[in-house]
């Protein structure tokens, strides 16, 4: 009820602006709505919060600079809690609100089913975080991502493990999620190709707290290195329980460990944990100004904040260039034009919607904070 009233009100206010802007039929009503979807609750809420910070700052900045095609943009947020079923219902909700683009989701397990809804409804989707290859490999015209892919991330991790830990005993674990299993499998493939075979390959159940049984199993197998394809809560618990059982292991993970919450969970046991992520976007010269703006608001633009900001930025730039917010035309422009100047630096997309130059480097946890490995 209030929703409808707000829409009406919005339409009245934006009326004159539409007359001024003219343009495509899609703009016939109200301000331009864009969506942001991610886990605002649940175990991965910390990443949803990062995404929301990035998207809302980007929207504020774009609106301050005059909006898109002379119109202001309004951000609608959806919470999928990283649950595939909830992701589909959020996707339907956002589509129902006539959003032109959805920035999200976070978990690959959410992004992939949601992308099918967006494809049907003709909505563009740009994920700042979903790294499972299947997300863009499905072949829909509407899927993009500003992060890398697990086959790229896994290739780097797998090769590094094979080179650095030659002759050591490695275990590969995953949480059976689209992201976790995808990443673990890609890493395993690259590691095996480089001549190192894992001793143990197993899945664990996410959401539990007691991983002592698996840890004892690793201990019996004299494991030196654990590679975890999964999220930070479980990875933190596994390494904590491994150290409690007196194991001397190195934990290696993917981009999902890129949050201070990992250390809060693992405690000192997380010392020396390695993870792959893009080289710190906060340090790039293109990000300096925006990073200042985040810091002024007391937000640390860590993890996926700037990736979400960039995703929103690219969409706005592409819409301006296409002179339309029609999702298909914007998608076409995003792929054909570019590179797009973003906080992350220049970004171009290939035909699938993947970034053309992903860069993964290793980070290491030391004394409660992480830094790029030298």
């Amino acid at each position: 009820m209030t929703m409808q009233r707000r829409t009406l009100l919005g339409a009245t206010i934006a009326g004159p602006a539409i007359l001024a802007a003219g343009g495509a039929r899609a703009q016939a009503r109200g301000p331009i709505r864009i969506g942001m979807a991610g886990p605002l609750t649940g175990a991965n809420a910390t990443f949803g919060a990062q995404m929301r910070e990035g998207a809302s700052q980007a929207v504020t900045d774009i609106n301050a600079a005059g909006g898109v095609l002379g119109q202001q943009i309004v951000l609608e947020t959806g919470d999928d809690a990283c649950d595939p079923r909830q992701a589909v219902s959020v996707a339907n909700q956002l589509s129902g609100r006539q959003v032109r683009v959805v920035i999200g989701h976070y978990c690959s397990g959410s992004s992939i089913p949601a992308s099918k809804v967006y494809l049907e409804e003709g909505v563009l989707q740009i994920s700042p975080a979903s790294t499972n290859p299947a997300y863009t490999d499905q072949g829909g015209w509407n899927t993009f991502r500003t992060c890398g892919r697990d086959d790229q991330q896994g290739a780097i991790a797998g090769k590094y493990i094979a080179d650095t830990y030659k002759g050591k005993r490695v275990a590969v674990l995953h949480d059976n999620s689209a992201y976790g299993k995808g990443l673990a499998d890609e890493t395993k493939k690259a590691m095996n190709a480089a001549g190192l075979n894992e001793e143990i390959y197993a899945a664990y159940t996410p959401g539990e707290r007691d991983y002592n049984a698996i840890v004892s199993r690793l201990k019996a197998g004299n494991i030196d290195v654990i590679y975890v394809g999964g999220y930070h809560t479980e990875a933190g618990l596994i390494v904590r329980q491994a150290k409690e059982q007196g194991m001397n292991v190195t934990l290696i993970g993917g981009d999902a460990l890129m949050t201070n919450e990992f250390w809060q969970i693992s405690g000192a046991a997380g010392e020396g944990t390695l993870m792959t992520f893009s080289s710190d976007p906060r340090k790039r010269p293109t990000a300096a100004e925006v990073v200042e703006r985040f810091r002024a608001r007391n937000v640390n633009p860590e993890g996926f904040v700037l990736y979400t900001y960039a995703a929103t930025q690219i969409w706005a730039e592409a819409a301006k260039k296409a002179n339309s917010v029609d999702p298909r035309r914007v998608a076409e422009t995003m792929k054909s034009s570019g590179p797009w100047q973003t906080v992350l630096g220049p970004i171009s997309f290939d035909r699938k919607g993947d970034v053309t130059v992903p860069d993964y480097v290793f980070y290491v946890w030391k004394n409660g904070s992480y830094a790029e490995m030298s």
Binding site: L40, T41, G42, A43, A45, T46, N176, A202, A203, Y204, T205, G207, E208, R209, D210, N212, A213, I214, S216, R217, K219, A220, N222, T233, G236, L237, R240, E244, Q245, G246, E261, Q264, I265, G267
Partner: protein, 304 residues
């Protein structure tokens, strides 16, 4: 051998926590024949109250020694008991005497209310706490595998056994326990004989909730991470434990908890970890086919 022993220790420590929560399910079922679906969330509340108390105590500079842990445990038991009492008073007592499904639905509603209340009041993010009880003892060294029991694991087992002994004594040897057992057998008759049945039922909920608080505190200390959703999975496992052990039976609940903990651990130890829950629930189903009242449950006698 050493490996199996280590997994036995892991399994017992896990099973004890399930058992503690299962006792709450079983007591309530015993006395009013209702599954208290909000019990898992009462456990979650207990964990949160412990977390808050720990933070307050360490802010007050009272340290984090055994004294502090005991204090936190008592505070958590008291406050959680208040929650348990309120839930019964608000959601179940008004429905007593109405049709069977009404309190069940009310319980599911209460579970959702508690979950969302904590989510709103405490935030949806996971809440970590640093390890307070550290250290472990190496028991045995065999075949190049060191069997160790951590102080925390030992503490869980000891605390659970002590608490269970106290409550078993309460139920079997005191007049309150006699009143509870009388209500269990025939509430109307017990009332006619001068037992305040409403009060007895309230006390049952209070006891169940304070046991859940003990489990919550142990869980917090052991794993160091809680969120508003932990009650669901733990609740399902504990409920399963109560059914496996024979719902209504106190020792059955602990036995069921131990068995579930051991099945999960040993399955993870020797077979595919991802089929752990499948194995657990398959064993539950098979057990119930052959022993419909669970391991230690008594067959329901039709009262005439």
């Amino acid at each position: 051998m050493a490996y199996a022993l280590q997994q036995l220790i892991n399994g017992v420590a896990l099973g004890m926590i399930y058992g503690l929560i299962a006792v709450g399910y079983t007591m309530v079922y015993g006395i009013i024949g209702m599954i208290n679906f909000a019990h898992g969330d009462i456990f979650m509340i207990g964990a949160f109250i412990s977390l808050i108390s720990f933070v307050l105590i360490s802010m007050g500079g009272w340290g984090t020694g055994p004294g502090a842990i005991l204090l936190v445990l008592l505070v958590s038991m008291a406050v959680t008991a208040l929650y348990g009492w309120s839930v019964e008073r608000v959601a179940y007592r008004p429905l007593r005497g109405s049709f069977r499904l009404a309190p069940l639905i009310s319980a599911i509603g209460m579970s959702i209310v508690l979950q969302n209340y904590v989510q709103v009041a405490q935030g949806a993010r996971v809440k970590p706490i640093e390890s307070l009880v550290t250290g472990s003892v190496e028991l045995w060294h065999g075949n190049g595998f060191a069997v160790s029991i951590s102080t925390m694991q030992a503490m869980i087992v000891i605390v659970t056994l002590v608490i269970l002994a106290v409550f078993t004594w309460l139920v079997t040897r005191t007049s309150l326990g006699r009143a509870m057992r009388a209500c269990e057998q025939d509430r109307k008759m017990a009332g006619l004989l001068g037992i305040d049945t409403d009060r007895t039922i309230s006390i049952t909920f209070v006891i169940g909730a304070s046991l859940a608080a003990v489990a919550g505190t142990m869980y917090l200390l052991r794993y160091g991470v809680i969120d508003f959703y932990i009650g669901f999975l733990a609740g399902v496992k504990a409920f399963t434990a109560a059914v496996l052990g024979g719902i209504g039976s106190l020792p059955g609940a602990v036995l069921g908890g131990l068995l579930i903990g051991l099945i999960e651990t040993f399955w993870s130890a020797y077979f595919s970890v991802q089929y752990k829950d499948v194995a657990t629930f398959a064993i539950l189903a098979i057990t119930l086919v052959f022993m419909p009242t669970g391991l230690l449950g008594r067959a329901e006698v039709e009262k005439v």
